[in-house]
Amino acid sequence: MGLDLLLQNILNPPVLMFMLGLLAVLLKTELEIPQPLPKLFSLYLLIAIGLHGGYELSKSGLTLDVLKVLLLAILMAIAVPIYAFFILRLKLDVYNAVAIAATYGSISAVTFITAGSFLNSLGQSYGGYMIAAMTLMESPAIIIGLILLSLFAKRNSNSQIEWKEVFRESFLNPSVYILMGTLLIGFITGEKGWKAMEPLFGTLFKGMLAFFLLDMGIVAGRRLGEIKKVGTFLVAFGILLPIFNASLAIALAKLFGLSKGDAFMFSVLCASASYIAVPAAMRLSVPEANPSLYVTMSLAITFPFNIAVGIPLYYFLIDQLWG
């Protein structure tokens, strides 16, 4: 694969900041970014891509291509957790299989954002509707996971799933909500609105991403220690499944004739795993599953892999097909 691409990706302040954070933990420095600063950054990033995506949409409008992308997004959001579950069942009990499957069925906004700034640095772009696609892909996996659970797990009465709760939790979790909301605001206020918001939510974007990735590195680093507990099977799973998901996404993207940029962002979405929305939901609804499995896999294995290797890799593949 194009080594230049790999370097092109890694030799970027944001990615290097991520590694700086990782290293900080490995070297046992006491560097930390205490709450609620990480919340400030993640909130900022969500609002920023929401507003910008909405503004882009207000220019492009809702074309048929958009619908195509959104459909593909939902399709994958339903398919991934299902096949992931059955793969995981080969080695794991139902509870952990469900939790991990749901984690990989959903997406990571920060991976998406980092991929976006990588695409940018190559002088290319993607449609604002990809933000909508991302939003649509965040929640279904939770529902699918719990359906699988109620199908395959024999639980005693006092641990019935409260479906109403679950649906609210899934479709109204903060990140989904803020993304949808700002997408709408960006769409409504269009050019004028964006001009007013751009200095904060546009111009500073890359710097804030770098700042946040420093924290992501620290958080991921803290989990590194637990990888051994995770075991080879799950480590392999945490790397191979994303590659598989991305490849599948690329194939579909080609089949449905997505643009190069959109195809890339779509593949990144499918390859990424959730470390906030889904874990939160799983802790509540599947306490039998072990968080240090699914959180560690998503944060300490898949996220770093995607940031460092996955992003250029998927782009490389797409570059071959789209040219």
Binding site: I33, N158, D215, A280, R283, S292, L299
Partner: protein, 97 residues
């Protein structure tokens, strides 16, 4: 000063609301909550992970009469045995005002 019982609970923060519901149901006159405590127990270390919010505990205490305390303890047991956490009861004197 009236003799009362102090019931203390430490539990994963996601289940805080369940605990409060139980307290209300058993009719305590009030409670106090400290969010964001961390600790270690059977389920390993719970050192609030800034990002994911997983692994974070809450500390709740309520001052109530002995039999309310008993009822609270009983109705907490199933929850605790499912999701972990601790519950302790001790004697206190309550300043009536």
């Amino acid at each position: 000063m009236e003799p009362m019982k102090k019931v203390e609970v430490v539990i994963d923060s996601v289940h805080l609301n369940k605990v409060l519901e139980i307290l209300e149901k058993q009719g305590v006159s009030g409670y106090t909550v400290i969010r964001d405590v961390w600790g270690k127990g059977e389920r390993g270390i719970m050192a609030g992970d800034e990002l994911t919010d997983v692994f974070k505990n809450s500390y709740i205490f309520t001052v109530c009469t002995e039999e309310v305390a008993k009822r609270v303890a009983e109705s907490l047991r199933p929850l605790l045995s499912k999701v972990g956490g601790v519950c302790i009861i001790s004697d206190v004197l309550w300043l009536v005002h």
